[in-house]
């Protein structure tokens, strides 16, 4: 019991200290100070060099455009879908069909979150390529093109396919956040009031619910924005290559054999951080401006149609689901094909050889991925449970500041502080160690586990622990015999989410692992460079499979364990 305050303290130590160290470690070379490479004076030469680099203006523009556009589209789509999916009362025959459609969309979108973004990007790359699946279907059914059309889809200069790849992953995530926040503001009741006052479903939602739910999802939106601006693996796969986004440019500079480019990379990383902060600020200011402008709209009395945009919502939901599903299916098909040339719609020759050939490597990387994920998740769970217990027993309420602290690793660009940490780790001869690798994953796993577990934990009827205590059970016994069993499903779902986050990490494994550790994601992205779609299919599909299995287990185990307990099913 006395140990409990140690948990939040430890957690904060785990976060704050290394992140600060990382930022420090990247700022110094950016200012010219890296004694190991001969830089022993502080100066702004490096920044001048950076700003004069010919690729920079376009990279910055591309980064900002793709990041902000992807976030805006994802948010709009998520809100749109939420308005339809959160409905409970639907009457009439037409609506029953629509209702079941929505149920399908809802059920399908949530597992989408478990698919790592790199796998999704790989699948999407094939789906929309000029010689890709969609074109092949189109050509087969309509056009009969002998050679692929000269369209620019994947790696297009405006970053549109990059935006699409990001939207596919971020929309379900934001949707989930919205749906989770709704009960807190009693959305259903407000919708009912709005409808009784004559407003259509969509309008009620936008005018009554959105203003209330938005502050609750602001942090997730910020996390999405920060991620979109700094993502590396999806940008490598779907984004343009000449010139690329800023984060990819930074990665290229790090890889440059001429070590003086390290300075440039550090400066670029600092710039990326500034861009992110600027974009967050811009977003926040835009929110405020929008609110000012639309305040009138909120109470102008325009009611709108009863069921407007319902069909559109269903369509967009299905489209999203379909695209994601086909992306992953494409990966699976490629993994089983020997030869699948254009314009065949299905593989010309099937084989299991791709799996056989890579079997040892698959085993090794799967094991590493699994080991890493499980350990990171376990540590995170222990820390989170400790923090939550501390909250309840010490009756300390969760402050707003702590929530920002939790989100910190998600708001700072990975490239920025991970680069700093790598520089420090090489110094301390800690790079390439499993410990550092686990920690780098923990940094991202923990926030998600906390966010997934916190609400169910806090919402557990406090009288159960009370009764337990009055029946003579110590707080520890209450934790293990009452709380944890009752929260088995949220615990397992949080673990599955954390595991999915770990599986999809790319930069942390690359940097902290020092190239010694191969996970499914690093293999998949490196094979993406090799462009052999069959191997990409194997690793991409596996990468998607693992989190799915975890999610499946998370839902199946409580179902089996509580098969005789009606209230917990």
């Amino acid at each position: 019991m006395r140990l409990l305050p140690a948990f939040p303290f430890l957690t904060q130590l785990l976060f704050l200290l290394p992140i600060a160290a990382g930022l420090f470690g990247v700022l110094l070379p950016a200012l010219g100070y890296l004694p190991d490479l001969g830089g022993d004076k502080f100066h702004f030469e490096v920044f001048r060099q950076l700003l004069e680099h010919p690729a920079l203006p376009h990279a910055v523009w591309l980064t900002l455009f793709s990041g902000i556009a992807a976030t805006f589209i994802s948010l709009s789509l998520a809100i749109f879908l939420a308005t339809m999916l959160s409905r409970t009362s639907l009457s009439g025959n037409k609506n029953n069909r629509m209702a079941s459609l929505f149920v399908i969309v809802r059920r399908g979108l949530i597992p989408l979150i478990a698919v790592p973004h790199a796998a999704m990007a790989l699948g999407l790359a094939f789906l929309v390529a000029p010689s890709g699946w969609l074109v092949r279907w189109f050509s087969f059914l309509l056009m009969g093109w002998e050679t692929p059309p000269e369209w620019v889809t994947v790696q297009d200069p405006f970053g549109l396919s990059l935006i699409l790849g990001l939207v596919l992953k971020e929309t379900p995530y934001l949707l989930l956040m919205i749906l989770a926040a709704l009960p807190q503001i009693r959305a259903q009741e407000y919708i009912r009031i709005g409808q009784s006052l004559g407003y259509g479903n969509l309008r009620s939602w936008l005018k009554l619910v959105l203003p209330q739910v938005y502050p609750l999802i602001r942090l997730p939106v910020f996390a999405v924005l920060a991620f979109s601006l700094s993502v590396v693996d999806v940008a490598l796969i779907l984004g343009p290559s000449t010139p690329p986004t800023l984060s990819v440019l930074i990665l290229r500079w790090i890889d440059n054999p001429d070590l003086s480019f390290r300075f440039l990379a550090s400066a670029g990383a600092v710039l990326l951080l500034l861009l992110t902060l600027g974009a967050l600020l811009f977003w926040r200011v835009s929110e405020w401006l929008l609110l000012q402008k639309w305040r009138n709209w909120l109470s102008n009395g325009k009611r709108g149609n009863r069921n407007e945009a319902q069909k559109l919502a269903a369509l967009s939901g299905l489209l999203l689901l379909g695209t994601a599903f086909l992306s992953v299916l494409g990966l699976a098909f490629w993994s089983l094909s020997l030869r699948w040339p254009y314009p065949y719609v299905l593989p010309q020759r099937w084989t299991s050889r791709n799996w056989e050939r890579h079997w040892t490597s698959i085993q090794e990387t799967s094991f590493t991925t699994l080991e890493l994920g499980v350990i990171a998740v376990l540590i995170a769970l222990i820390l989170v449970v400790g923090c939550l217990e501390n909250e309840q027993w010490r009756r300390v309420s969760f402050s707003f500041r702590s929530q920002w602290l939790l989100y910190l690793p998600l708001l700072i660009p990975q490239a920025t502080f991970l680069l700093g940490i790598q520089i420090l780790a090489v110094r301390l001869e800690m790079d390439g160690t499993f410990l550092l690798l686990v920690w780098s994953h923990l940094l991202f796993v923990l926030p998600y586990i906390f966010l997934t577990l916190a609400d169910p934990w806090r919402n557990l009827d406090t009288r159960f622990p009370q009764i337990g205590q009055c029946l003579g059970a110590s707080p520890l016994r209450v934790l293990f015999r009452i709380k944890l069993p009752l929260l088995l499903k949220p615990l397992l779902v949080a673990a599955a989410v954390g595991f999915a986050v770990s599986v999809s990490q790319y930069l942390p494994t690359l940097f902290a692992g020092g190239g010694r550790f191969a996970t499914l994601t690093t293999e998949a992205v490196s094979y993406a460079a090799g462009a052999d779609r069959r191997v990409i299919g194997v690793y991409g599909f596996l990468q998607a499979l693992f989190p799915w299995i975890a999610l499946l287990l998370a839902l199946a185990i409580p179902h089996w364990r509580f098969r005789n307990r009606a209230t917990l099913l």
Partner: protein, 416 residues
């Protein structure tokens, strides 16, 4: 000498002198054996190497090569007890950076890279910065089988003397790949390539200059277009010289680019991407560094059965690829075992088999036994491989200086 072991003989003084002899002999023996230890006999290397794990950082962009490396791993484990781990790189520069960073941070033992697939400017960089272990090739028994006279690039890497700091393991020759089902006439020179592109716009391109194949294409074009290609064999004297020598190249590319895939606004990021584009029928002509790679790709299902190769009439660039050992490797003995195995007739034969990889050997066939020579001659050529007499002359790689400056200038002109 017999006296030393014959203690039964005579007087005390004799015993004293025998003991003295014994001491002297033993000391000499120990001294001599320590000499041979520092001369690193192959036996000692093999002994030390047993049980070591070697992290071989090598380009991982080709399935065929990855499978071959995997096979090498199985073999060195069987024969020498060395565990080989293939660290797949997108670019060799990744590993060079890492070793450099380790040196800068003072890590002089147990570095993260034990063996590195290297040549050209990467080799130059490592040698300049003292990042390589060695010289070590003289310790390797199979090194003497290499064809030094017939393949001078095994001793001169991009015009830089190797001096034992890297071990050769394969030969490369720049060539073009095309889909014979769609292309009937192939260009025979760089200017003819431009003409071909005029007739088939958008059906050819070359990888971005940061990819080794892309930069080789630029250099190949430069060799053919410039007035005095001999200046390319030494470093760049001045900016003026550079501008003068490369002027015809830029004017050529300015004409070529609008006729390329996507009008030259975008270039495939790597050679593997480009091969996939050929496979997807997005291109009709692509580039390659291995004359047999196309046959291997067909066998592997990575290219259409109608893929074939061609070279330029005046000849194409060729070079050797090597493996080097970083100075701070903790498993240098194991790395040497692997380097030696790579040069063995068995490994070279397996490698040259077009069903496996098709990469040409560095060995001199005449230095091998009759049986091994037979086996080599029996290796199939591969359906898309040009026979040796049709491969044309081999041109040497320009000095790394030219490559670096060309790369920078290209990026400045054509898109970062």
């Amino acid at each position: 000498m017999n006296n030393i072991f014959n203690y039964n003989s005579a007087t005390e003084s004799e015993t004293m002198s025998k003991t003295l002899n014994f001491i002297i002999f033993t000391t000499l023996f120990l001294l001599l054996s320590s000499f041979s230890v520092s001369a690193n006999s192959w036996e000692d290397i093999s002994k030390k190497a047993k049980g070591q794990t070697v992290y071989w950082n090598a380009w991982g962009g080709s399935e065929e090569i990855n499978s071959y490396i995997s096979w090498v791993g199985t073999r060195v484990k069987e024969d020498y007890g060395v565990t080989l781990k293939h660290v797949k790189l997108a670019s060799t520069a990744d590993a060079v950076s890492r070793v450099l960073a380790e040196k800068a941070a003072g890590r002089t033992t147990n570095g993260s890279v034990d063996l590195i697939w290297i040549n050209g400017e990467n080799f130059a960089k490592m040698k300049e910065n003292g990042l390589l272990f060695g010289p070590f090739t003289d310790n390797l028994p199979n090194f003497k089988l290499v064809d030094f006279s017939g393949k001078p690039t095994t001793l001169l890497d991009f015009n830089l003397p190797v001096e034992g700091y890297e071990a050769p393991w394969g030969m490369a020759k720049f060539n073009f790949v095309f889909d014979s089902a769609r292309v009937s006439e192939t260009p025979k020179s760089i200017p003819e390539l431009l003409q071909w592109s005029k007739r088939h716009p958008g059906r050819f391109t070359y990888p971005h200059v940061t990819d080794f194949l892309g930069s080789t294409f630029i250099m190949q074009a430069l060799i053919e277009l410039t007035a005095n290609p001999e200046v390319l064999n030494r470093s760049v004297k001045s900016e003026v010289e550079f501008s003068k020598v490369t002027a015809p190249l830029w004017s050529y590319l300015n004409q070529l680019h609008p006729l390329l895939w996507r009008s030259g606004n975008s270039f495939p990021s790597s050679s593997s991407v480009q091969q996939q584009m050929l496979n997807d029928s997005e291109l009709d002509i692509a580039l390659s560094f291995n004359p047999s790679a196309t046959s291997a790709a067909i066998a592997n299902g990575s290219l259409t059965e109608s893929a074939r190769t061609f070279v330029l009439k005046k000849g194409t660039i060729g070079n050797t690829h090597f493996v080097g050992i970083p100075f701070n490797s903790g498993s240098s003995e194991g790395a040497m075992i692997v380097a030696n195995f790579l040069m063995s007739p068995e490994a070279q034969m397996e490698k040259q088999n077009p069903d496996i990889w098709g990469d040409s050997t560095v060995l001199s066939i005449t230095k091998l036994s009759a049986q091994q020579q037979q086996k080599f001659k029996a290796l199939p050529l591969g359906v898309a491989t040009l026979p040796p007499e049709k491969l044309g002359p081999t041109q040497p790689n320009p000095h790394p200086d030219w490559k670096n400056q060309l790369s920078t200038e290209w990026q400045r002109r054509y898109g970062q």
